[in-house]
Subunit: 400 residues, 2 copies
């Protein structure tokens, strides 16, 4: 759906939408008993909620496509993830709460070790401490580039974020990281003509970095990859006419929410803390994006039981959200992370949408299988926001 | 689906498609017993039909989008309602059976009362009688505009339809209706450069109207809004290679059918009259659009029992259609109008498609829930015509 059309149909109102995103929610059956994480979990609150909600499963990007967190979240917020792209460098910057402006070019860096011939001997510089990384980043941050502002920030151990800010920059650049040892760092090459000046700035930075780090051991150079331009998106609050706020424990999700123009609360410590924050600001906003990381973390670790435990932890907090009586309450994920795969996957993500105006469902449990048989069937994630807006009675009629 | 592709695949044949559109068909459960209008109704014929038909639910425009009658019908006829748009002024003209040509600019007018300072004191001129409206329209119709033909027709009470016909006109115009009292009528402003000459014609008409109506009490002025260009659509009979006819009791639906190039029968008095007309012309056409208004009327009135009664009335006529033995028989709606909302809504619309070549269904009843669980699942309404064509064996193979 066209965001311009959304803008035409949206009407501000006092109704409230809570979107609870359980990261990596969708799972897969384990071999022992053929049950998925959701099927194995004891989640009476979610099951009861599913029974009176609209259920379905959502394709985050497209059938067969495994989304990163960026595309997954953009789709949930109603932005076509094929149209709006968030590169790796931008996501890395978000991960350390680095505020980007549209047009900034961000890259992922890592400190490395070069030998006397200038060839990479260790792409991670022996995994230097984060303290050392921080100290070296301060020195790199002193480098001056003509007409381009430089932001250098430590991430963790040997990893750093390098951002170029200026007019007319482009992230269409090749990596300087050769990705193997025994080779010299590469020149950064523009992948499109309009990226030529940014390539010059990046190469200039790398030359200067070489000088600055010459005496540093073992981190005597830095490699850059994943250059990406921070995209400019139609602001969520304007498109949907919503006062929107993000509540999360992780910087990366704050960054994604900021990128679409949501207000973001300071980082929470855990889910309980998030729900306290939700309650505290409930009167000030109409749309609440609440992020729960536990399910994805366990899924990524291949920890089936851990993911089951995370789901049960989530389930216990459902009554606290329901007590706020949101007009629309959505529980879903930004992608699947089946523990048996130990990674993000392409599987559609279970969805429930509670609304007074939804046609009730027969689903008895909040599982992949029951949701797939729900009245929403299988739908593109990008259509979720229009559906939420309709159920919150925040959309005008289309056409006469 | 691309209409050009439809045109390439369509082959004329003697098989017959009957599309029975029960306006506002889809509903929502009432609180007392959790049943929707279809679930509460005694509709044995529709239920039996559902049991041997392909069932599903259709999104008329898109998930979450509440369609007007225009977009809803265009989608049923296979025209993408995002591509082809029918403005309010055009629909108003259709409502009084005013025949428009592609390129005509139609607007909704209402007679109003101005005070001595020229400010609107009553936007409806005390709801003058339709007779007075008719008399004043005749006088307004005498106004001459340079190079633009003017058509002024009464609608009802204070409402009228004003159509500008000429070369290069555009409906991208602002309203002259200030929508509130205490203000003077507004100048009509072009919203795009190409609408400048149409704005001039509209303002000229309004100046002349002021003079013509000066002595009329209380209707001493007219306000215009909802300017829209009558769109030009690829003709339905050519695209689908169907001899198509519309049978309805309401002018607006005749207008929509004429716009897509269907033949239209004179207005019927009621559903029985429509079915007699269907039977009478059955040999002359291959496609029959039959419109039943009762369900929407009761839904709009918030009259749950009235909608149930309308569904039961419809159900009794199903055998009369089946007696004709159409090759494809479709029962669906142009949008939902749940009585509990008392308005059009975004909810998907139940659909059944009877065909000798359909995979039989498990649905036992013709309800929102049973249809949602049907083999067609949830699909865009714009895909219904291709499905009907296929089931009528009127489509060639695509590709070799």
């Amino acid at each position: 759906m066209d965001l311009e059309l959304v803008r035409q149909l949206a009407i501000p109102s006092s109704s409230k939408i809570v979107m609870l995103v359980s990261d990596g929610l969708g799972g897969l059956a384990r071999e022992s008993d053929g049950r998925s994480e959701l099927e194995a979990a004891v989640i009476p609150n979610l099951d009861a909620l599913a029974g009176r909600s609209l259920c379905g499963v959502i394709d985050m990007v497209g059938p067969g496509i495994t989304p990163g967190s960026g595309p997954g979240h953009l789709a949930l917020f109603g932005y076509d993830p094929y149209v709006y792209r968030i590169g790796r460098g931008v996501l890395e910057a978000f991960g350390i709460d680095l505020e980007l402006r549209p047009g900034d070019v961000a890259s992922r860096g890592n400190f490395c070790t070069l030998d006397a011939e200038g060839k990479v001997t260790d792409r991670r510089a022996g995994r230097i401490s984060t303290d050392t990384c921080r100290r070296l980043c301060l020195r790199l941050g002193q480098i001056k580039l003509d007409g381009v502002e430089l932001i250098v920030r430590p991430v963790m151990e040997h990893r750093l974020s390098v951002v170029f800010r200026g007019v007319g920059l482009s992230g269409d650049l090749s990596d300087s990281d050769p990705l193997v040892t025994g080779q010299a760092p590469l020149q950064v090459v523009p992948l499109r003509p309009e990226a030529a000046s940014t390539a010059t700035a990046a190469n200039r930075f790398l030359e200067e970095a070489r000088k600055v780090l010459e005496q540093a051991t073992p981190a005597n150079m830095v490699l850059l990859r994943g250059f990406a331009t921070a995209p400019s998106l139609p602001p969520f609050p304007e498109v949907y006419r919503l006062r929107a706020v993000a509540i999360t424990c992780y910087p990366m999700y704050r960054g994604l929410a900021k990128l679409v123009g949501m207000d973001v609360l300071p980082l929470s410590a855990n889910l309980d803390d998030e729900l306290r924050a939700l309650s505290a600001v409930y009167d000030k906003y109409d749309f609440f994006y609440v992020h729960f990381k536990g399910t994805d973390r366990a899924g990524e670790d291949g920890d089936f039981d851990g993911k089951v435990a995370a789901l049960e932890e989530l389930d216990k907090r459902i009554p606290a959200v329901l007590a706020l009586r949101p007009d629309v309450f959505i529980v879903t994920g930004d992608h699947s992370t089946p523990a048996v795969l130990g990674a993000h996957s392409w599987h559609p993500v279970p969805l429930l949408l509670l609304s007074r105006w939804g046609r009730s469902d027969r689903a008895r449990r909040f599982t992949e299988r029951d949701c797939a048989a729900g009245p929403l069937g299988r739908m593109p994630a990008v259509e979720l926001m229009p559906l939420a807006m309709a159920n919150a009675l925040k959309f005008k009629k289309y056409g006469a």
